[in-house]
Amino acid sequence: MSGIRRRTVLGWGLGFAAGRALAQTGTTTGTTTGTTTGTTTGTTTGTTTGTATGMTTGTATGKTEPVFRPEKDASLRLLRWSGFVKSDEELWNANTKKFTEATGVPVNVEYITWEDVRPKAALAANLGTGPDIIMGWYDDPHIYPQKLVDVSDVAELLGKQLGGWYDVARTYGYSNRMKHWIAVPVGGTVECLNYRTSWMKEAGFDQFPKNPDDLLKLFRALKAKGHPGGFALGHAVGDGNNWTHWVLWTFGGKAVEKDNKTIAIAQKPSLDAIQYVQELYAQMAPGVGSWLDPNNNRAFLAGEIGLTNNGISIYYAARKDFPQVAEDINHAPFPIGPVGRPTELANFSQAFIFRYSRFPNAAKEYIRFMLSPDQAGPWVDAMNGYVTPALKQYQTLPVWTKDPKTTPFRDGIARMQHNGYAGEPGQQAAAALAEFIVLDMFADATVSGMTAKDAAARAENRLRRIYRG
C-alpha cells in the first residue's frame, strides 16, 4: 500500500466522487423525474387478467347485457390510487374480475401512491399514450378536458339510477368549457374532526361545537387540561389543505371570484379567518407548523392530542391496535361559521377516459359496472368509510349506520365545496392547491408571525400570477 503514489490515490478519490456524481445525476439534472420515482415507492401492480370469455357468473344479479358494448378484442388499463385500506384493493380486484368474466375484457389495474397519480395522468395527457382510464384527483380532468372522452352518457345514466350526483360531484365531473361530462365522479376521502369524547367532556363540553367560536373555546379548554388539539400547518397535502380551506370558506373568504379571474383572497372575510386561526394556533399542540399528513395520526393515537382533522384512518388504526382509544374516539363535521353553510374540502376522485384509448366503450362499461350497486356497494362497505361515494343512493349502505362513528363521514360530499371555489375547477385551482397558497397564508400568519394583512397580500400576489391571462 505504501507504494501508492499521491496521484493514484487522488485519482481513486476522484473516481469515487465521479461515481457519486453519476449516481446523483437523476436528481441533479432532471429534478423532476429523479424525484418522482423516488417517491413512487409503493407501486404495486395488481393484474387481473380474466381468461374466461362470455362466462355466466352465476351471481344472483347476473346482468348479462352490457349497457355500453365493449369493442371487439378490447382490453383495458386502469391507473388508480393505492387503497387507504387493504380491503379496497381486494374488493376492487374482485369486482374487476367479475367484469372480465361478464364481458371478456381483461383489465390491468395499476395502483400507485395517491399523490403520484396527478403527474402520471398529466404525462399521459401530454404524451397521448398510457392507461385507458385514470382515477385522478380534484381538478385533474379539467386541466386537459379536450383530451378526454365525453362521458355524459355514463354519468347521466348512473345519476338517474342512483339518486343523483351531489352538486359538488357534478362540478368536478362536468366541464363548463366542453359543455359535457369529462369525468365520472367516484367519491371523496371525507375528513371529519376526530376527538376524544372523555377529554371533550372533561373540558366541559357535552356536545361537539357547531360554530368556530365554540371550537376555539374547546381548543382552549383542551389545552388547559393538557390534551391540546392540533391541525397541520406544515405542507400536509391532505390534512393541511383541507382544514385551512374550510376555515377560509366558513368565514366567507375565497381565493377567486366566480369569474375565475378576480382574486378575492385579501378581503375582510379572509382577514377574519386569519385572525381566528391566529387565536386557534395559540391553543394548538406545539409543532403543528411542521406537521405533514401522518403527524396528527400518530400524535392522536399516542394520546398527545385530543382533537384533530382526519379521515377515518385514525379510528380504524385505533380499533386495531388501541381498542380503548377507539372506544373514546368520535367524529364530527367541521363547524359552520358566518357563511352559514358547510364549507369542507376533501380529496375527491373521479374516473376519466383518454381519447387516445382504443376502447372507449369498454372503458365506459367498466366505469359503469364498477360504480353500480352490485360492485360499488360491497366495495364501499369494505372500505369502512374511507371513501364516501359521489352518488346519493349510497348513503343507505349499511357501512354508515352499523357503527354510528362512521355516520358523520356519510354526508361529507354534501358538505363539500369544490377546490378553487368560487372560481372553476381547472389548472389554476389545481396549481393554487398544489402550491399550498391558502395553507401557507395561514402558516405565514402563525408560524412565521406575519400580520394577517401581509400574509393575505402575499397569497394574493401569488394567486394573481397563477390566475393571470
Partner: protein, 303 residues
C-alpha cells in the same frame, strides 16, 4: 498491455487506426451520444421551457425572460435563493471540517480501526430516503428521542420544535445534511492522507516540528488540491439536494425550507407551471456551471 496489444491486432487486421482522428472519434462516439442524448438534449429543452409560459395542460408560448423577471420579485423565490446559498455554504463548511477531523483520527492505527472506517461509511451507504425518514422521526415535534431524553433528565420542560419554525427548521435540515455528507469528505481525505509519504512527516519531526506545524505546513498543503475537488463536488450535491427536504418538510413551514430544486418541483409537477419551474431550475445553471468549471480546472491542474 492494452497499448501493445491493440497496436498488434489492429495492424494485422489491415486497419490503420493508430494515426489520425478516427480512433479517438470512434471511441468517444458512444459516450458522446449517451451524454448528448440523455443530458445535453433534455438540458437544452429545459432551458427553452424556462422561456415559455407552458403549463401541464398547454404548450404555452414564448415569453422571453418574463418567468425570470417575475421570480426575482417573488418573495418565496427570494427566500429560496437565500436558503439554497445558506444551506450549501454552511453545510459544506461543516462537512469539510468534520470530515477532515474524522479522517485524521481514522488515519491512525488503533485497535479496530478497520471496523470504525466501515462504520463511518454508513450514513453514506444508507439510501437518502431512508435516512431522511429516520431524521424525520428524530426531529418529530411529539416523538423526537432527543426531546424525550432531554425532558426525561430534566434539562427541558417541553419538546423541541425542531421543524415548526423557520430558523430551527433550517438548522435541523442542515444538521441532517451534514450528518449525511461527512463520509464523503472523510473517505476522500483518508485516501489523500495515505498517499502522503511518511518520510515527509518523519523528516519534519526530526527537525523538531510540532504536530500542529506538521499538519498545517505539510499535511494540509498536500491535501489542498483534493480539498478543492471534494468541496466542489460536495457543493454540487448539496446545492441540488432534494430528498432530504422533500421527505422531512416539503419546503415548509410556510416555504421556509425550500431549495431551488424543491421549489422547482413543487411548482412544475404538482403545480403544473412547467415554464416557471424550468426557470427556477434555470437559475441554478450558472452556479452549477461555475462549480463544474472549477472542478474541471482543478483536475487539469492535477495533470
Amino acid at each position: 498491455m492494452a497499448r501493445n496489444g491493440h497496436g498488434g491486432w489492429l495492424r494485422r487486421g489491415g486497419l490503420s487506426l493508430d494515426h489520425g482522428p478516427l480512433l479517438p472519434t470512434l471511441l468517444l462516439l458512444p459516450s458522446a451520444v449517451l451524454l448528448g442524448g440523455l443530458l445535453a438534449f433534455p438540458l437544452v429543452l429545459g432551458v427553452l421551457l424556462g422561456f415559455k409560459d407552458a403549463t401541464i395542460g398547454s404548450e404555452g408560448s414564448f415569453i422571453g425572460l418574463e418567468n425570470y423577471r417575475y421570480l426575482l420579485t417573488d418573495p418565496v423565490f427570494r427566500i429560496t435563493a437565500l436558503n439554497t446559498a445558506l444551506y450549501t455554504l454552511v453545510t459544506v463548511l461543516f462537512k469539510l471540517a468534520l470530515g477532515l477531523a474524522l479522517a485524521l483520527i481514522l488515519n491512525q492505527r488503533f485497535a479496530g480501526y478497520r471496523f470504525w472506517r466501515s462504520v463511518l461509511l454508513l450514513p453514506y451507504v444508507v439510501p437518502t430516503v431512508l435516512s431522511a425518514f429516520a431524521w424525520w422521526w428524530i426531529l418529530d415535534p411529539q416523538f423526537s428521542f432527543i426531546s424525550w431524553a432531554l425532558v426525561k433528565v430534566g434539562l427541558l420542560g417541553q419538546n423541541i420544535n425542531f421543524l415548526g419554525n423557520a430558523v430551527l427548521a433550517r438548522g435541523s435540515l442542515m444538521v441532517a445534511n451534514i450528518w449525511r455528507g461527512i463520509p464523503f469528505f472523510t473517505v476522500g481525505y483518508l485516501a489523500g492522507l495515505q498517499a502522503i509519504p511518511k518520510e515527509l512527516h518523519e523528516a519534519a519531526a526530526i527537525d523538531g516540528a510540532s504536530a500542529w506545524q506538521i499538519f498545517w505546513r505539510i499535511t494540509w498543503v498536500l491535501l489542498l488540491p483534493l480539498t478543492t475537488i471534494l468541496t466542489i463536488f460536495s457543493a454540487i450535491f448539496t446545492f441540488t439536494d432534494f430528498q432530504l427536504i422533500w421527505t422531512i418538510t416539503r419546503g415548509g413551514p410556510a416555504n421556509a425550507t425550500h431549495l431551488f430544486v424543491t421549489l422547482a418541483y413543487q411548482r412544475a409537477i404538482p403545480g403544473g407551471a412547467l415554464g416557471e419551474g424550468a426557470a427556477i431550475a434555470g437559475f441554478t445553471l450558472p452556479f452549477l456551471a461555475l462549480l463544474a468549471w472549477g472542478a474541471l480546472d482543478a483536475l487539469r491542474r492535477q495533470e
